[in-house]
């Protein structure tokens, strides 16, 4: 669990880094980031490292960028391969908007993510969505570098990341 959290923090540093991370983690050797162990296929850790568990959005938008679609394609492939897991998609927003709208915007982002995964063949009945609006930021600095990390949809294997 600790190792997974370490990877999650690393991934949260931005989409570019996440892409780089995926490239590195594709190697089958045991050389690793942060001294952690290479992911065992089919585990949650494997999903987070090799597919990427989150996509990011522009301000006030739920549009999936080409990069997001890329990530979701990998998610869909993984989810179809390891099909026993139920999935919760969390939608989130940054703090630069009002509370009610951000709840709806988070839901819109989670729905867009869900719909894309379904279009890529993931069984719809496995996918649940929830929105946390702006209530669960992962980055709290007063800068676009943090706000952009919070405008996200997170695909959580088997349960809730943030509780």
């Amino acid at each position: 669990m600790r190792i997974m959290l370490k990877f999650r923090r690393f991934i949260a540093k931005g989409a570019v880094l996440a892409a780089a991370l995926t490239l590195v983690a594709c190697s089958t050797t045991s050389s690793t980031l942060d001294g952690a162990v290479a992911a065992v296929p089919g585990t949650v850790q494997d999903f987070v490292v090799n597919a990427g568990d989150r996509v990011f959005f522009e301000t006030d938008s739920a549009e999936l960028s080409p990069q997001s679609r890329d990530t979701l394609d990998k998610q869909a492939a993984w989810l179809k391969k390891y099909s026993s897991y139920p999935i919760l998609i969390e939608g989130h927003a940054d703090e630069r908007g009002t509370r009610e709208y951000n709840l709806a915007l988070g839901a819109r982002r989670a729905t867009a993510t869900r719909n894309y995964l379904v279009s890529r063949g993931v069984d719809a009945s496995r996918l649940r969505t929830i929105s946390y609006g702006k209530e669960r930021p992962v980055a709290v600095c007063d800068d676009i570098s943090c706000w952009s990390q919070n405008r996200r949809a997170v695909t959580v294997i088997g349960g809730s990341e943030t509780g």
Partner: protein, 450 residues
């Protein structure tokens, strides 16, 4: 000048238990033809009226302490209104010993008082608290108002608030807002692990208590206008987030309705009979109203957009809400049955959280433009937009019951920052931070309690 004999009205008991105040006497006094002192609260940045508020008289040390406490609360209310400047007690010349006697107005004029408040408290043998006050026009040398109250001793703060409202009303011609409460969200912990609880307090920050234990994410609480209930949104213990009702007296709570998705942004109708809210369906949010007795639900909007933050007009005939159906969040007004939906905001920026004033004349809102966060008002026809205040992540206005003061919340940046409650007058002046023990957000102002 001889003092007229006091006349007593019939005792009426209003409400039950801990919220009873029975005003039983309006003390008669020849009224002046016109008030010499008065305050025009529509003007910004006025000169505060100098007022003297000696401790209420008490016949023994306990009563005297209560008298000092009550005077203190009254003074705090009047100061925070921005309309009054209290005179330092150390400057007082006359010592008020009999609330029924005419003051030596010369002694008060000399220290520049224009208004004088005197009072008396007594804890009676039957266990009740009796309190009375007089408001004096120092310049005209006449009484302007007077009332007597009977209540339970633990209601002493409400006596001070009711007296404050009486003073405010007599001098401004507007009803006051001091005998009210604020429901809000108490926030603790770092910004990325916030603990939120429902909380309630008197409008001056006293009697603050937390209503939920922080174990569930709770948001946007609003008072019922007619009962001791709050409607709010909660994520439960990991369940689907839903609109709830919370009974302040019994602590009982229930989920509102049986909706197939997330419900949020709830408010009561002015008659307290309905809860209006948003229901999320996939990527869209639409507005629904539910009758609390019959449980019948009415769908009010039906667009592939986010429609949320609904707020009734005080006559219950219309609803204002925000919608991004036009591309960005803007303010709309519709009839309470959902017909005639019209956009009313057309300025530069993003408009949200519209709230109709209890006076019916204005709608307050949050506006975001070019990285700035503003609280403003506009008329229900969309004209007369006016910004009241700018600040970091300003959000979520709520109106005092007299429609003259707005409370909202404002954040501070960084991981150790957090929101606090603020108030500002409709004139844009007298901006103040509200005292809360922790971070606080999502305030909602109650109606006058009495």
């Amino acid at each position: 000048m001889a003092r007229g004999k006091a006349g007593f009205a019939t005792l009426t008991r209003i409400g039950r238990a801990f919220l009873v105040i029975a005003a039983i006497a309006v003390l008669a006094w020849p009224r002046p033809a016109h008030a010499v002192i008065e305050i025009d609260i529509t003007q910004g940045n006025i000169q505060p009226l100098p007022v003297a508020i000696p401790d209420f008289i008490g016949g023994n040390p306990d009563d005297a302490q209560l008298g000092a406490d009550i005077a203190n609360v009254i003074q705090g209310n009047l100061v925070r209104s921005g309309l009054f400047a209290p005179i330092d007690k150390a400057a007082f010349i006359e010592k008020i010993r009999d609330v029924n006697a005419t003051p030596r107005f010369g002694d008060w004029r000399i220290i520049n008082a224009q208004a004088l408040v005197t009072g008396h408290v007594a804890l009676l043998k039957d266990g009740r608290l009796r309190a009375e006050f007089r408001l004096w026009d120092v310049l005209a040398g006449q009484q302007m108002a007077g009332q007597q109250f009977f209540t339970t001793p633990d209601n002493w703060r409400r006596v001070a608030h009711v007296v404050s409202d009486a003073i405010y009303q007599r001098l401004t011609g507007e009803s006051g807002y001091f005998d009210t409460r604020i429901v809000f969200i108490d926030e603790t912990g770092p910004k990325d692990a916030r603990i939120k609880s429902l909380a309630i307090m008197d409008q001056d920050g006293a009697n603050m208590r937390v209503l939920t234990d922080g174990g569930e994410l709770v948001l946007t609480p609003r008072f019922s206008p007619t009962s001791q209930e709050i409607t709010y949104m909660s994520f439960g213990r990991g369940d689907q987030p839903r609109v709830h009702l919370f009974n302040i007296e019994t602590g009982q709570r229930e989920i509102v309705g049986d909706f197939p998705g997330m419900t949020f942004a709830p408010r009561f109708s002015p008659d307290g009979q309905r809860v209006i809210m948003s229901l999320q369906s996939g990527g869209n949010a639409n507005i629904y109203a539910m009758d609390l007795r019959s449980r019948a639900t009415t769908r009010l909007t039906d667009t592939p957009a986010i429609d949320t933050a609904p707020s009734y007009s005080p006559d219950g005939r219309q609803v204002t809400f925000e919608s991004d159906r036009g591309g960005t969040q803007q303010i709309y007004v519709m009839n309470a049955d959902g017909t005639n939906q019209q956009r009313i905001s057309f300025g530069e920026g993003i408009y949200s959280t519209p709230v109709w004033s209890p006076r019916g004349d204005l709608i307050a809102f949050t506006k975001r433009h070019a990285g700035r966060f503003l609280i403003g008002v506009l008329r229900p026809d969309g004209s007369g937009e006016r910004i009241l205040t700018e600040g970091y992540h300003n959000e979520g206005p709520t109106w005092a019951p007299n429609g003259r003061v707005i409370m909202f919340f404002r954040d501070t940046p960084g991981e150790n920052g957090g929101p606090k409650l603020w108030s500002v007058d409709l004139t844009g002046y007298n901006e103040r931070q509200i005292d809360t023990p922790h971070f606080a957000s999502d305030p909602a102002w109650s109606p006058l309690i009495n």
